[in-house]
């Protein structure tokens, strides 16, 4: 049976964070990522899905896709919300910056765990964060 290579999941409740993690763990393992990369990817998912749930003040959605290139496998993830937005993205990326009294390690950490991060945000409209990770195909 062919593995599912793309999909989406809503982020509306706390429980959706775990659902997103499980979904992406299965997809990344099936795609052939190594154990450490799977953990990096799932951890990034957890940070970004939680940010939607905690910070955006609105519902959101996670979309994902497995990518193939000769000799390489990749995963592309997108987190979109329709919430309050991030006024200063550079500041939000700083280690330790938080508006919620938490660790402020999410965005800066995700940048280190993934190969690519792209943040589009408009105050009062919402935030879209995409990340990508590549690994050697088995």
């Amino acid at each position: 049976m062919a593995n599912q290579e793309a999909g989406e999941n809503p982020i509306k409740s706390e429980g959706d964070i775990v659902t997103c993690r499980k979904l992406i763990r299965n997809a990344a393992v099936a795609a052939g990522f190594g154990m450490t990369d799977v953990t990096r990817i799932v951890t990034a998912v957890s940070e970004l899905a939680r940010n939607v749930y905690v910070h955006s003040g609105s519902d959101g959605v996670m979309r994902w896709e497995i990518l193939h290139q000769p000799g390489q496998i990749g995963i592309h993830l997108e987190f979109e919300d329709y919430g309050k937005g991030i006024p200063d993205v550079d500041q939000a990326m700083e280690v330790g910056f938080t508006t919620a009294g938490t660790m402020g390690m999410g965005l800066s950490g995700v940048k280190r765990l993934m190969d690519d991060i792209n943040i589009k945000s408009e105050v009062g409209v919402g935030t879209t964060i995409t990340v990508e990770k590549w690994g050697r195909a088995k």
């Binding site: 429980g15 763990r25 990096r40 765990l113």
Partner: protein, 123 residues
Amino acid sequence: MDGENSLSVIKLKNILLVTVPDDPGDDIIHELQTKVLHAIEKYQSKGLILDISSVNILDSFFARTISETTQMVALMGGKTVIAGMQPSVAITATELGLHLGKAISTLDVDRALDIFTDNFKLV
């Protein structure tokens, strides 16, 4: 709640052994803190062992709870030991820049028990 995805808290003499499931949700992590503190109070435990050998994800939320709980347990006179972290989790946590505060780590629960029974050679 099914056993596989819930927290188990066991009292061993004056120590508390808490086993965390592989992919703990926020509810379980919240529960961890309150359950642990109540049990420490009830049993007057001198120590807490968090067995995380099944855990395959540790994000900043979980790390913060561990670090806070360690501090709270210390205020109540106890010592916290994190046992059995998986290599991929340790690498990811380091890259993410996480720290677990004053919690000590050991390779497994046996070695954590050694710490409390003074057989431990590496303190």
